[in-house]
């Protein structure tokens, strides 16, 4: 399927969901996201718009690498210390745990799991992504500090796989967030994941893993794509 077809398919999907929303006649907003009025202690009434007041929402900026040898050293360090945030969206998540077993032991490559996106620099998206999950993926991705790397694990993640025509599954992850390493297969075995890490290391060491800056550069495009598919967009534009 060509990229054009893909796009038309996406648009078709979007139109369908838009129609659904229109037909139902209401826009769904979660109660906690509605603009609300609260009474301040001094009796005055203040308006709170959660999306603007509670989130920074500022656009991301490109963050320039440092110069020369320093950046090289840092890239080496980044490559040798990959802290992974696993995002188990589907069947792929079952392939990640074997990596910590003696058989595969990813630790010896400097790869380790980390529980919070703030402290991770590699993001594994394992398996198909539903529209609903995509929001979480975007938020998590945006919360990771740069430089950050995305590994798309499995066919479903990369091109929709067997769900290529599902109404609720997105079928091209890199329309929504930039992906550094594609690990194809259905499902790829842990060895493939390790190979993916090796590939990532190569990219980092070569200074080619600057997809975070690419995201910032093409922010509008990405955001438009995201908003096209996520109808009940109830997040700030950028999640810090």
């Amino acid at each position: 399927m060509s990229e054009k077809d893909m796009n038309s398919k996406v648009n078709e999907m979007l139109a369908r969901s838009e129609a659904n929303v229109k037909n139902s006649g209401k826009k769904f907003v979660r109660p906690e996201d509605e603009e609300r009025e609260v009474v301040a202690p001094d009796g005055s009434i203040i308006k709170v718009n959660p999306i603007y007041d509670y989130f920074s929402g500022a656009r991301p900026e490109e963050e320039k690498p440092r110069n020369g040898i320093v950046e090289k050293f840092l890239n080496w360090a980044r490559a040798e210390s990959i802290w992974v945030l696993g995002f188990g969206t589907g069947c792929g998540s079952i392939e990640i745990p074997p990596l910590v077993t003696p058989r595969f032991d990813m630790f010896r490559f400097g790869v380790q799991m980390r529980p919070t996106p703030r402290q991770s620099n590699a993001f594994i998206i394992s398996g198909y992504l539903s529209v609903k999950t995509l929001k979480r993926v975007i938020r998590t991705y945006e919360q990771m500090p740069s430089p950050k790397y995305v590994l798309a694990l499995g066919s479903c993640t990369i091109n929709g796989g067997m769900y290529y025509d599902s109404y609720s599954t997105i079928n091209r992850l890199d329309h929504y967030i930039p992906v550094d390493v594609y690990i194809a297969g259905c499902m790829p075995r842990p060895e493939a994941l390790l190979a993916g890490f090796a590939k990532l290391k190569e990219l980092i060491k070569a200074g080619k893993a600057e997809k975070a800056n690419e995201y910032a550069r093409n922010f509008d495009w990405y955001k438009a794509n995201q908003k096209k598919i996520v109808k009940d967009w109830n997040m700030p534009d950028y999640n810090w």
């Binding site: 979660r30 906690e32 609300r36 609260v38 009474v39 301040a40 202690p41 001094d42 005055s44 203040i46 709170v48 959660p50 007041d53 509670y54 989130f55 920074s56 500022a58 963050e63 995002f87 919070t116 996106p117 703030r118 929001k135 979480r136 993926v137 938020r139 998590t140 919360q143 997040m235 999640n239 810090w240």
Partner: protein, 1040 residues
């Protein structure tokens, strides 16, 4: 001088002549009555003045014969004073009752006039049968006046009254006739000579006379009829009964007691004590204002009877003591009854309505404080004298009985007062002002202050009292209509000038405390500028507290000390009860304070015993039961430091107080207790202390207090309560330090005193100011305020670092000294408990700062402003103090050490520049501070260098498992934060002490509720009570 017999002429002649006044001319009749009473008053008053100026007492003979053959009256000093008092109150009562009397007609006016006249004669007469006749006049007149405002209840009460007094006077008559039979005379002086009590039958006759007078005084428990009258009659009549009649009857008892001989003294005192305690305990369950006052009146008469019983022991002081109590009772009770008539609310809970007219509240407060015996009222001085003398003569059980009774009285009176100050008053109909009713109330209130002042002048120690602060308070009270700004300025200037004047006269130790009181006072007053409007009543009471505090410091005599102590208690009570939900806490504060003050009183009495001096130095050389004396003093002072067991009042009182009051009562007021403990411990001999067990017990108490105070603070949800519990814990440290009785312990204790003042003032001021902004005390309703109030956050942060004792701030100095002291003293387990408490303290401090300032900002606080500048000024001044103390601890600790060395010369710190040495180690405050600050700055510089420009994010920009927070409330970890700790340590949080006190109060209330059912409202039962009372007294006194 006109003969006193013309009281009869005026009174009776007036009454008879009123028959000529036409029935329509009611005003004329009432005016004639008032004029007649005034004339009697002038007559007796002129006699009183003459007698005071040295005239001799006048005997009045009738019928041209000398006694004992005819009836004679006596006008001596006592009679002069009492008849003047009766006429005075009669006049005021007449003015109060003006409208009622007018309405009831000329006959009622006659009755009232005769009533007053009768009382005059009762007081003056020296013939026992004549006494009987005029007693009958008084009681019949009373029976008539009871139904002045005719209600069903009044009629019932009147009938019971008639029945009871009829039987009582019959008994009296039998007694009189047999007394005549045995002695052949009816003259009281003649009967005194005759000693009929020595005869078998004569003793019974005497008993009947005495018992019937006691019954007329409505002695507990045969007094149901009296209570019914107090409740059922018009309040104005209640006032007359309570003030005038009781005064007259009391003097009758005095006269007859002289006649009965000294062996009756004991019995009178005993019956008085039973009456005093019984009546006051039963009053605990009372909800009806007038009946409550009735119980109180009976209690007061009981107290007066005790005094009478001890007249031989009190000697020349008897009139002083008796008049002191009597006049306080007389004015205050009349005033309260009149107020009851003005307010017209039966249920004491509805007295909240009085608050709608604040000056009435002031009047009520005056009367209640006068009744309990607070300065500057006469009862204070009288009670002091009484206790001093009784302890001096070894009558300790009596003192305990008296103070227990007073305590019970305080319970119900202050509960009542609490309702008046704080009760719900929205739905209660406001009362009307009638000038003829208010005038007498105002006059008696003024009279109370004036008599108080003159009572004080009467004794040497009392005359030495410094009244200037009190006059200043009075001036501020008068200026209360001015706006806050002006009053605040006046108050600050006044305090500053006073401090400037006073400080050269003080020794170092006193200067430390005076500085805390006065400078602290000024600083906390600055915060008062933040308030708008008038803030009615705040300045007088705040300054009253400071007046008391400074009086404690300046006291040269124990009387002055106690005077100041009670003033301070009164002032702080009013300050505390100003808080929104402070009613129960104000009450418990007052009760613990009163209880503590009584412990102090006994302790000071023991110090007085055998030393015959009132100078403060007597507590250094207590010889009479010294263990008990020092113990009682310490217990008294511990109520103010809120040691475990006596701490019930503190959390609520401090927690609910106003924002700038909390620091006053926490950072400043508690130090008064510490000052007292310091004085006591110095008194115990400093290093050569010969009462080792007291400090030992005190030390454990301090340690356990520190532990439980801090532990309780951890589980509070209310920021101010948290700080309040923290104060309990901190005071525990101080007490432990002082109890060690070593140089280092005291140095640690004193450094804590200074420190606790600084940081607790900062914390309470800041949290109070925050509360003013966010309008809630609950920490879980706050959060994230650092964004809105960065300056407040900094203040709290420095405050908690100082409190927790983390180096390099000042708290560490105290901790370091403490552990050195503990090692030196060998109190290791206490030390370990203290350390553990420190760890716990860290928890609540973190909780405080986290839940208030950190975490998630709430919706409704998005626009709150930084705390008021007027709070920031004192806060930052205090912070400057903390910083100076932290960086240069030697500036504080060296002078303190020199001061302490006069009592504890051994084991001093040695200083080498900024380094302090003990034998266990050394500590360089400045060096440590500099090291830490430098390291901090270096690390900060490194961080700044190695990070890029940080992007400022907002509060929901947190990792949330791919989701996002929904509401600040659900994201803020603030409620029940230390659940895990609670699961582990709940056993230590069981409020055993509180339960114990609750049990005690429940027991007392239940007892009162059961026992008071003897007053079943049936007139016959009351007669049975009377007869039983007679029989029991007979069997007890004469013994079958």
């Amino acid at each position: 001088m006109i003969s006193p017999i013309h009281i009869l002429t005026i009174g009776l002649g007036g009454a008879f002549a009123l028959g000529f006044v036409p029935k329509k001319a009611k005003d004329a009749a009432a005016v004639i009555m008032l004029a007649a009473i005034a004339l009697m008053g002038v007559l007796t008053g002129s006699w009183l003045i003459g007698l005071i100026n040295g005239d001799s007492a006048q005997q009045v003979f009738t019928a041209g014969f000398k006694p004992p053959f005819s009836i004679n009256l006596l006008m001596g000093l006592n009679e002069g004073a009492l008849t003047t008092a009766v006429n005075f109150i009669g006049l005021l009562g007449g003015i109060y009752l003006y409208k009622y009397l007018k309405e009831a007609g000329n006959h009622a006016i006659m009755v009232f006039l005769i009533f007053i006249m009768g009382l005059n004669v009762v007081i003056m007469t020296r013939d026992i049968f004549n006494l009987f006749v005029f007693l009958e006049i008084v009681s019949i007149a009373t029976a008539g006046l009871v139904i002045l405002t005719e209600t069903g209840k009044a009629v019932q009460a009147g009938f019971k009254y008639m029945l009871a007094t009829g039987v009582i006077s019959g008994v009296l008559l039998i007694g009189i006739i047999f007394a005549y039979y045995y002695s052949g005379t009816l003259n009281i002086d003649g009967l005194t000579q005759a000693h009929i009590g020595a005869l078998r039958g004569g003793s019974v006759a005497l008993l009947m006379i005495m018992v019937s007078i006691l019954l007329e005084l409505k002695t507990f428990p045969a007094n149901g009829w009296g209570l019914d009258v107090y409740e059922g009659a018009n309040a104005g009549i209640g006032a007359m009964l309570s003030a005038a009649t009781a005064t007259g009857m009391y003097y009758v008892l005095y006269k007859l007691l002289v006649m009965a001989g000294p062996e009756w003294n004991y019995w009178i005192a005993l019956i008085g004590a039973v009456s005093f305690i019984g009546s006051n305990v039963l009053a605990l369950k009372q909800r009806s204002a007038q009946r409550l006052l009735g119980y109180s009146s009976i209690g007061q008469i009981g107290l007066l009877m005790i005094i009478l019983g001890f007249k031989d022991i009190l000697g020349d002081n008897t009139p002083y003591v008796a008049f002191g109590i009597l006049f306080s009772h007389y004015f205050a009770k009349a005033g309260l009854f009149w107020l009851a008539g003005i307010v017209k609310q039966s249920d004491i809970a509805n007295w909240a309505v009085i608050r709608k007219k604040p000056y009435f509240l002031f009047l009520m407060g005056t009367f209640i404080f006068a009744l309990i015996g607070f300065p500057p009222f006469p009862s204070f001085f009288a009670k002091w004298e009484l206790v001093m003398e009784l302890v001096n003569t070894g009558n300790l059980p009596w003192v305990v009985a008296i103070l227990f009774g007073s305590m019970m009285e305080a319970v119900y009176l202050f509960r009542w007062f609490g309702y008046a100050i704080k009760g719900e008053n929205e739905n209660i109909e406001d009362f009307k002002i009638e000038w003829n009713k208010i005038l007498p109330v105002g006059i008696v209130a003024i009279a109370l202050y004036v008599t108080g002042y003159f009572t004080a002048q009467h004794t040497e120690a009392g005359a030495a009292i410094n009244w200037i602060p009190l006059f200043f308070v009075a001036a501020i009270f008068i200026l209360d209509f001015l706006p806050v700004f002006v009053k605040n300025t006046i108050a600050i200037i006044g305090m500053a000038l006073y401090f400037y004047n006073i400080y050269p006269d003080l020794d170092n130790m006193r200067l430390v405390f005076e500085a805390i009181f006065m400078i602290g006072g000024i600083l906390t007053l600055i915060a008062g500028y933040a308030y708008k409007g008038k803030r009615t009543g705040f300045y007088p009471v705040a300054l009253l507290m400071y007046a008391g505090l400074t009086a404690i410091i300046e006291a040269q005599t124990t009387l002055q000390f106690f005077f100041g102590w009670e003033l301070m208690t009164a002032g702080s009570y009013f300050l505390i009860i100003r808080g929104k939900r402070s009613m129960p806490h104000g009450l418990s504060y007052m009760l613990f304070s009163v209880g503590g003050a009584y412990a102090l009183l006994i302790g000071l009495g023991m110090a007085f015993a055998g030393q015959d001096s009132l100078g403060m130095e007597i507590i250094n050389t207590i010889s009479y039961l010294p263990y008990w004396a020092y113990g009682l003093l310490i217990v008294g002072f511990l109520t103010k430091t809120a040691a475990l067991g006596l701490h019930i009042w503190l959390p609520g009182a401090h927690g609910e107080a106003e924002s700038d009051v909390s620091p006053m009562v926490s950072a400043i007021l508690l130090k008064a207790g510490v000052f007292g403990i310091v004085l006591t411990l110095i008194g115990m001999g400093g290093e050569s202390n010969s009462y080792p067990w007291l400090p030992y017990a005190l030390g454990w108490l301090g340690a356990i207090t520190a532990f439980s105070g801090n532990l309780m603070a951890v589980f509070q949800e209310d920021a101010k309560r948290l700080l309040a519990y923290s104060s309990i814990g901190q005071l525990g440290y101080i007490v432990l330090g002082m109890a060690m009785m070593t140089h280092l312990g005291w140095l640690g204790g004193f450094s804590y005193v200074v420190n606790h003042f600084l940081y607790k003032a900062v914390l309470f001021l800041t949290i109070g100011a925050v509360v003013l902004r966010v309008k809630t005390h609950n920490m879980y309703e706050m959060g994230g305020l650092i964004k809105r109030m960065p300056l407040a956050f900094i203040a709290v942060m420095i405050g908690i670092i100082a409190l927790s004792g983390v180096p390099p701030l000042s708290g560490f100095a105290g901790k370091w000294l403490f552990y050195n002291a503990i090692l030196e003293k060998g109190w290791y387990l206490q030390g370990a408990i203290m350390f553990f408490s420190g760890g716990i303290a860290f928890m609540y401090l973190w909780r405080l700062i986290h839940t208030v300032f950190l975490g998630q900002l709430k919706d409704n606080h998005r626009n709150v402003k930084e705390i008021s500048i007027w709070f920031l000024i004192p806060i930052y001044l205090l912070l400057a103090g903390i910083m100076v103390y932290s960086v240069k601890p030697q500036w504080v600790l060296q002078p303190l050490g020199d001061m302490i060395a006069q009592w504890f010369p051994d084991g001093q710190l040695t200083w080498d520049g900024g380094t302090a040495f003990t034998k266990y180690g050394h500590w360089a405050g400045t060096a440590v501070a500099v090291t830490i600050i430098v390291a901090f700055l270096v690390v900060l510089a490194l961080l700044l260098i190695s990070t890029r420009k940080a992007h400022k994010v907002k509060q929901f920009d947190i990792t949330y498992s791919g989701e996002r927070p929904e509401r600040p409330e659900t994201t803020h970890v603030a409620y029940n934060v230390f659940e895990g700790l609670y699961k582990a340590m709940w056993i230590a949080t069981i409020p055993l002490v509180e339960t114990w006190w609750n049990k005690v109060t429940d027991f007392l209330h239940d007892t009162a509720d059961i026992v008071r059912r003897i007053y079943n409202g049936n007139g016959q039962t009351y007669i049975i009570h009377i007869v039983l009372f007679i029989i029991v007294t007979y069997f007890v006194i004469i013994g079958g």
